[in-house]
Every structure is written in C-alpha cells, then in structure tokens.
Assembly symmetry: C2
Homo-oligomer: 229 residues x 2
DNA sequence: GCAAAAGTGTTTGATATACACCCATGC
DNA sequence: GCATGGGTGTATATCAAACACTTTTGC
C-alpha cells in the first residue's frame, strides 16, 4: 500500500497589511472538505503527469493562485504517518516547495473567499502540519537571506538600495544599518548599477540597481544544473 | 497514476583505503536486476508500513547494510521523470537521506559481493541519477561541517582533537592549522574534556573529549523537535 | 534655509589566518 | 638528549557593527 504523493508550496511575498505596512505574507487556501474542513492550508495538489518535481510545483502554484514565482526551491518532504490523520484517512507524503513572488506579481494574484493572504508571523491554526511547514520555510528563508541573493526574488527588475534593505528588514524583523548594508551588498557583487535614478522625491534621488540575471539567486551546488532534479 | 515512492540513503564513513589512508567512503549495493543491472547503487527500498520518513530511512539502512547511523538527515527528493527511465519503467520518486556512521560501526558492516565500500570522491558510473545524488550529499556534508557539529558523527564517544581534526581534513580535503582548529572548536563549545588522556605513544599524551549529547549535532530550526517530520 | 533620505568615512571589536614557540612523553 | 606530536602565544589581515558626517533633492 503506497502512500499518496502531493506537492505543496509556501509562497512568500511582501504586501501592505491593513495598516499599510509592508509585511511578509503567504497565500493560503481554505479547505473545502474533510479533514480540516474550513481551515487554511498551503496550496498544493497531487503529483501527476510526466513533469519533474520543480515543474509540478510551478504548475500547481500557477493553477491554485495564478502566481509566477521569481524563485522556487524544494524545501523538505514531510511524511509522518499521523500528519494526515484525523480519521482513517490514507497516508499522504508531501514534497513541499517554497517560492518568492514580487509585490507587483502578488497584486495580480487571485484573491477570493477561498484564497487569502495572511501575515507569515502570526498565522492561525492551519490544516495538517502546515504550521510547522511554514515555520520551517520561514527559518530557511531567513537563513538564506544572509548567504545568497534570494532577496531579489521579492523585487522587480530595478530597485533602489533602500528597497532592497527594506526586504531584509521586514523578513529578518530588525533594522539594518544603511551604510553597512550598502557596503556588504556592493562587496558581494550581487547588484549592478543601471545608471538611472528615481527623481521626484524631496530628497537626493536614489540610484537604481539590477541583479546579475546570469547568476542564479542561490548557490545550490550540484543541483544548480537545471533539469537535474 | 501515482509514481512509486522509495527511500535511499547516502551513508558516509571514514575507512582506510587500500593504502591504509583514511578516506571518505560510501557503501553501495550492486543492482541485481534491470534497469542498470550490475551497476552500483545507493541502498534503499520502497516506503511501506506506518513509520515516519526518518524511521523508514533508518530501518532501510539497517536492513540493507547492517549499520546504525550516528547522524541521519533528509537530503532531498528526486523525481525527474527520466531518472528511472531506461525502458518504459514506472516512475520513481526517491526521498533521499544522508547518514554518518563511526569507523568502528563501519567495520562491523556487512560487506559481500553485493555490498561494497567505495571512495566518495572517485566513484564509477552509478545506477540512475545516483552520481548526482552523492555529489549533492557531499556538498551538503562539506558545507555542514563548517557550521554544525556533524563531524562528531564519524567518531566514537571519546576522541582526541587530532582525530576530530583529521575528520575535517579528510572530508574537506585540505590540511587545517592545529592551533586555530583547537581554538575554534573550543570557542564553539562543541566539545567537553573528559579529563582522560591517551597514554602509550612516544609523545605528549593527548586529552580526550566528548561532545554534548544533550544538543543535536546540527541546528535544523523548527525541525529539531523530534517526531515532527 | 530646512527637512529628508542618499551616500561616505571612521573607529572599534571580533574573528580568521599564519606561524613561531613551548611541553610531555618514549626511546 | 632527541624525535614526535600535543598544546599555547602572538602578530596581522579581514570583516561586522556602530555611528558621525556630507550630499542632493523639493519646498
């Protein structure tokens, strides 16, 4: 008796909350059947067809939320026998991904009675073991901010250093020194000045940057080579 | 049509090679049926029964090699549709673990015509995508040496600093400064002096250490809580 | 000029590295 | 004593953090 295989994704985006403050948020789907009917859950679905796991995650993400991620990475596989329990439900093993989408993209997302964005750091009780999964995804995201360029996944093509710093501050939950931040990002070679600036504000116009699109956002060692999962 | 689910494990141990030099080695199993008949493959098997993924990995490891790991961690899940190909074989999704066993334990391992230890850094062509998997496991092991205590997984209860340093040198493949190594390990609080020393050699007797068994070998964030996978 | 945010400079402490030196043991 | 590896000390470079300062814009 083989367990069922499903793919789910923890999707992160920065969006304004009810007070207008940018917050780290996650789109969740309301359960419309037992078990855990009515609770919020991670978007996901069964693994079918002839696609790779990455492709399956991307497709599922698109179909359930309408979003296209700027970054997508496998998180972990969860398969404790109790996790899908409740009654004598069949066992489900979930291969979970995490993704980043830009704020612009997140605004285009479907939001309905059954799909909703919730703040990542104060979630209600979710279905199954999804609270643990989100916690772990958050932990990984925060760790990865410090040794990779994943932060760019939250931003558009062009951005100012203040915007990039805001991403770090929101995700890490603490203020960062302006000067030191600039230096460390510049030293890492993660950003390229475009030469353009943002005019209009009543202060010195900030310079715009891009990131090097020929380099991937995170070093995943031997898994970097695409199509090898 | 659901894909089949399997669990495999990349097992590392330090063992003397044919020249007597301690080397990072992996036990592999010879394929006794198609596809990839005759090639070496990672030990593994289907996921059955009512156990968690971790338990399944540990059990499978025991049954195929007779080994009990000192460290065991999920590595990644591989599910590219081509990976199990060859003919019109059914698709297999593998949840892969990696494990460390002590040298003493490795010596007790079953070694037969069909189970063999091979040096991790010069493997022949393995079955399926197992070369990629081993490469990735190696990458993870090397990365993790630097920010966790997993190295203790290779050693017994008591060890000298020279033995611990040897583990690092073999895995990383480069010599480390004696003095600096001692300082950094001591500063991290990873080791506890037992008060005992190793007498008998024609030099100053080295002190013996243990590691703190109440702390896990690697910080895995929210996944640290056991039984939550 | 003033407010505001961009951008630069400087000082300090911690950590990594290289390398020289002393210590305890068996022979 | 001498060889051998264990163990300690010290100088230097590199990096992170804290914080003061200058620059450019709109009003």
């Amino acid at each position: 008796m083989q367990p069922n295989l499903a793919i789910s994704t923890v999707i992160f985006a920065l969006r304004p909350d009810e007070n207008g403050r940018n917050t780290l948020m996650i789109p969740l789907v309301k359960r419309i059947r037992e078990p855990h009917l009515g609770k919020w859950a991670l978007p996901g679905g069964p693994l079918v067809g002839n696609e790779s796991l990455d492709e399956a995650a991307a497709r599922n993400l698109r179909e359930t939320t309408g979003l296209t991620p700027r970054y997508l990475e496998q998180l972990y596989s969860f398969g404790a026998p109790e996790r899908s329990a409740g009654a004598a439900a069949e066992r489900v093993v979930s291969i979970v991904y995490w993704a980043l989408v830009g704020t612009d993209e997140a605004d285009r997302a479907v939001e309905s009675e059954n799909v909703h964005w919730l703040a990542a750091d104060c979630l209600p009780e979710l279905a199954f073991d999804h609270n643990l999964i989100v916690e772990y995804a958050l932990w990984r995201l925060r760790a990865k901010l410090n040794y990779s360029r994943v932060a760019h996944g939250f931003l558009g093509e062009e951005f100012t250093l203040a915007q990039l710093r805001e991403v770090y501050e929101i995700v890490l939950g603490r203020p960062l020194d302006k000067g030191n931040f600039r230096r460390s990002v510049e030293a890492s070679g993660a950003i390229i000045p475009t030469g353009r600036v943002v005019a209009g504000a009543s202060n010195r116009p900030p310079a715009l940057y891009t990131y090097d699109k020929t380099r991937s956002l995170a070093d995943r060692g031997p898994l970097n080579k695409p199509s090898d999962y």
